[in-house]
C-alpha cells in the first residue's frame, strides 16, 4: 500500500475505494453492473414492445443486419421483439438474484454466527448438515427442490438459495471463529458486554467484507442458475421473458438458421455473469486481497 504523503488518517472504506479505482477492469465492470441494473429498473421505458403478447405475422424476422429498424435484434418464433424481451428479462434475472442474495444472507449469516459463536454441539450439528448439502452437485440440489415444490419463479429462488446457504454459513463461521478470539472482543466481554452487543458491534463489522464479496459473486451464479432452470424448462413459465427460457425456445429454430433467437439472450447472460464476476473480483481485491473465497 502506498504511503500517504499528507499523513491524514484514512478510513478503511476510502482506502478500499482507492484500491478499487486502480483496477481498470473493476471500474469497467462497475459501470456494466450499473448499466444492467438500470436496464432492469427502466425496462418499460427502454423496451420497444410488450414482451409477452405474440404478434404472429412478425415471426422470426431478422434484426439490424437485415436493416430491420423496428426490431433491432429480430423477433422470435411468436413474433415478439427479442430486444424488448431481453430488457424485461433483466428484471427477472435480477429479481431472482436479489431474492437469492437476501435469503442466503439472512439464513447463511445467522447459521454461521450461531455455529461459530455458540460452538460445541450446535456447531458440530450445523456443520454436519452443511456437509450433507455440500455433497450434492449444486444444480442437482436445485433440481431436487424444484421437483419437490413444483415450478415457478419463487420456488426457483428458494432452490437456488439453498445451494448457497451452506457455503455462506461456512464462510461466516470461519471469519467469526478467528475474530472472536481477538483481544478486543475479550476486552469488551471483560467490560461486561453481552453476547448480542459483541455480535452486533464487534463480530458483524468483520464479516461485512467477505459477505459483500461473496454475495456479489453469488449474484453472477444466481443469474446463471436461473437461466439454467429456465433452459431446462423446469423453473419458470415458458412465456416469461426469462433469458434461459428464451434460449431453449429458440433451439429448434437454430438448426433452421434463425440464430438470433438464441444468440442474443445467451450473450446477455454471459455479459451479465461476466460483469458481476469481475465486479466481485474487484471488490475482493479492494476490500481484502488475502480473502479466500
Amino acid at each position: 500500500m502506498a504511503i500517504d504523503k499528507s499523513n491524514k488518517p484514512q478510513s478503511y472504506m476510502s482506502l478500499a475505494f482507492k484500491q478499487f479505482k486502480k483496477n481498470k477492469l473493476a471500474v469497467i465492470s462497475f459501470f456494466m453492473v450499473m448499466g444492467i441494473m438500470l436496464l432492469g429498473v427502466f425496462a418499460p421505458l427502454i423496451a420497444l414492445e410488450d414482451p409477452i403478447t405474440p404478434v404472429l405475422e412478425n415471426k422470426l424476422q431478422p434484426g439490424f443486419w437485415a436493416g430491420n429498424k423496428s426490431h433491432p435484434l429480430g423477433t422470435d418464433e411468436l413474433g415478439r421483439d427479442i430486444f424488448s424481451r431481453i430488457v424485461y428479462g433483466t428484471r427477472i434475472s435480477l429479481k431472482v438474484g436479489y431474492m437469492v442474495i437476501a435469503i442466503t444472507a439472512v439464513l447463511g449469516i445467522s447459521l454461521g454466527l450461531i455455529s461459530a459463536y455458540y460452538g460445541k454441539l450446535i456447531d458440530l450439528l450445523l456443520m454436519r448438515i452443511t456437509d450433507i448439502f455440500l455433497s450434492f452437485p449444486p444444480l442437482l440440489l436445485a433440481l431436487a427442490v424444484v421437483a419437490i415444490l413444483g415450478t415457478g419463479l419463487e420456488k426457483a429462488m428458494l432452490a437456488i438459495a439453498l445451494i448457497y446457504i451452506p457455503q455462506m454459513a461456512r464462510i461466516v463461521r470461519s471469519v467469526v471463529l478467528t475474530v472472536k478470539e481477538l483481544p478486543y472482543v475479550e476486552a469488551s466481554r471483560a467490560l461486561g458486554a453481552g453476547n448480542l452487543r459483541i455480535i452486533v458491534c464487534h463480530i458483524l463489522p468483520n464479516i461485512l467484507a467477505p459477505t459483500v464479496v461473496y454475495l456479489t459473486l453469488l449474484l453472477a451464479d444466481a443469474i446463471l442458475y436461473t437461466a439454467a432452470l429456465g433452459f431446462l424448462g423446469i423453473g419458470i413459465d415458458p412465456s416469461t421473458p426469462e433469458w434461459g427460457a428464451m434460449l431453449s425456445n429458440g433451439r429448434d429454430y437454430l438448426l433452421l438458421g434463425y440464430w438470433w433467437v438464441t444468440v442474443f439472450p445467451g450473450l446477455m447472460i454471459a455479459l451479465s455473469v461476466l460483469s458481476f464476476n469481475l465486479f466481485g473480483d474487484g471488490l475482493r481485491e479492494a476490500l481484502d486481497p488475502k480473502m479466500d473465497i
Binding site: 444444480l139 433452459f231 438464441t262 454471459a270 469481475l278
Partner: protein
C-alpha cells in the same frame, strides 16, 4: 499421524454425511405438497389406483419403517421401481450411466490436456499478451453458460459447417454390440471401426461444452500455483546450477505446482455432474442428466430419488478419494 490413521478418520467422517444424504433423499417424496401418490398419477388416476400406488410405494406404513425399508433396499442396490416405466430404478440408472461417464471423461481429458499446458505457458510468459489471453479465456470460460455454448457449437459445427453430428451418441441405424455400455470401448472390443469413428464424432461437441468450466479453472489454478512455485528458492538454485529452462519446468516446478491442480480437478469432477445435466439436455445425450430431467417432467419420484442418491454417493466417494490422494502426494497436509 500416519496415512492409514488419516484414511480411517476420513472414512468415519463419511458415515454421518451418508446418513444425512440418505435421510434427505428419502424425504424428497414426503416433502411434496399434497399426497405423493395422487401427484404422481395426476391428472388421471382413480382413487383405487392412487390407493394401489400408495400401497406399492409403502406410503401407508409408518415413516420410520418406510425409511428402514428404503435404506435396507438401497444397501441391496434396490431403489424401488420407476412409476413411469415400471422398471427397477437401479436398472434404469445403470443403463444410462456409461453415457454420462464417457462424456465426463471426455470433457476431463480435454480440460486437463489443454488446461495444464495453457496454465504453464501463461505463468512462464507472465504479463505478456499470451498470459493476458489465457486469463481472459479462463474468465470467459466461467461466465458463458454451458448450454448456450453447446447450442452455438451445434449451430457452427453441426448445422452450418456440417462437420459433426447435432445430437445423440451414435447415428441411428448404425449397429454396435452393447457389451459395457461405453460405446467407445464397445466399438474397440468388437473391432467395429466404423462405429468407433461415428461415436467419437458424436462425443466431440458435448465434451468441449462440458470441459469449458473445468478448463478455465485449471488454467487459472495452474498459472497461479506455477507462479508460486517458480518464485521458490529451490527453483533459483536449479537456475543457478545452470539447468536448462525446460528441465526446471518439467522436473522441478511442475511436480509441486500440480498439487493444487489435482484438488481442483477432483472438485470439478463433482461439479461436472451438474454441468453434465445441462450438456446432456442440449445434445440429447442419453445419460443420467436427461434421465433425471425426464423423471422430473414425469413426476417419477422413485426415479428422482434414485438418481439424486447415486450422484450424491459418487460425489462423496470422489471427495473422499481427493482428500486421500491429496494427503498422499502432499505429506505436509494433515488435519
Amino acid at each position: 499421524m500416519n496415512i492409514w490413521k488419516y484414511i480411517l478418520k476420513r472414512l468415519l467422517m463419511v458415515v454421518p454425511t451418508l446418513f444425512g444424504v440418505s435421510l434427505l433423499v428419502f424425504f424428497i417424496i414426503h416433502l411434496i405438497p399434497g399426497d405423493p401418490a395422487q401427484v404422481m398419477l395426476y391428472p388421471k388416476g382413480t382413487p383405487e389406483e392412487i390407493e394401489a400406488l400408495r400401497h406399492k410405494l409403502g406410503l401407508d406404513k409408518p415413516l420410520a419403517i418406510q425409511y428402514l425399508d428404503w435404506i435396507i433396499g438401497a444397501v441391496h442396490l434396490d431403489l424401488g421401481t420407476s412409476v413411469f416405466s415400471g422398471e427397477p430404478v437401479v436398472t434404469e440408472i445403470f443403463r444410462r450411466f456409461p453415457a454420462t461417464i464417457e462424456l465426463t471423461l471426455g470433457a476431463l481429458l480435454i480440460a486437463v490436456l489443454v488446461g495444464i499446458p495453457l496454465g504453464v505457458i501463461a505463468a512462464r510468459k507472465r504479463n505478456t499478451l499470451i498470459d493476458y489471453s489465457c486469463i481472459t479465456f479462463s474468465l470467459l470460460g466461467v461466465s458463458i453458460p454451458v448450454f448456450w455454448l453447446g447450442l452455438m457449437l451445434i449451430f457452427i459445427f453441426a448445422a452450418t459447417l456440417d462437420w459433426l453430428p447435432v445430437s445423440g451418441r451414435i447415428t441411428m441405424g448404425l449397429s454396435l454390440e452393447n457389451i459395457t455400455g461405453f460405446y467407445l470401448l464397445d466399438a474397440l472390443l468388437t473391432g467395429n471401426f466404423k462405429a468407433l469413428g461415428d461415436v467419437s464424432r458424436h462425443l466431440i461437441l458435448p465434451s468441449i461444452s462440458l470441459a469449458t468450466i473445468p478448463l478455465a479453472l485449471i488454467v487459472r489454478v495452474t498459472r497461479s500455483s506455477m507462479l508460486d512455485v517458480l518464485s521458490q528458492d529451490y527453483i533459483r538454485t536449479a537456475k543457478a546450477k545452470g539447468l536448462p529452462g525446460q528441465r526446471i519446468i518439467f522436473r522441478h516446478a511442475l511436480k509441486n505446482a500440480l498439487i493444487p491442480v489435482i484438488t481442483v480437478i477432483g472438485i470439478q469432477v463433482g461439479s461436472m455432474m451438474g454441468g453434465a445435466i445441462l450438456t446432456e439436455a442440449v445434445f440429447s445425450w442419453p445419460g443420467i442428466g436427461t434421465l433425471i430431467i425426464d423423471a422430473i417432467y414425469n413426476r417419477d419420484y422413485p426415479l428422482i430419488q434414485g438418481v439424486v442418491f447415486i450422484i450424491a454417493l459418487i460425489m462423496i466417494i470422489i471427495n473422499l478419494l481427493v482428500d486421500i490422494i491429496y494427503a498422499y502426494i502432499d505429506p505436509r497436509i494433515r488435519y
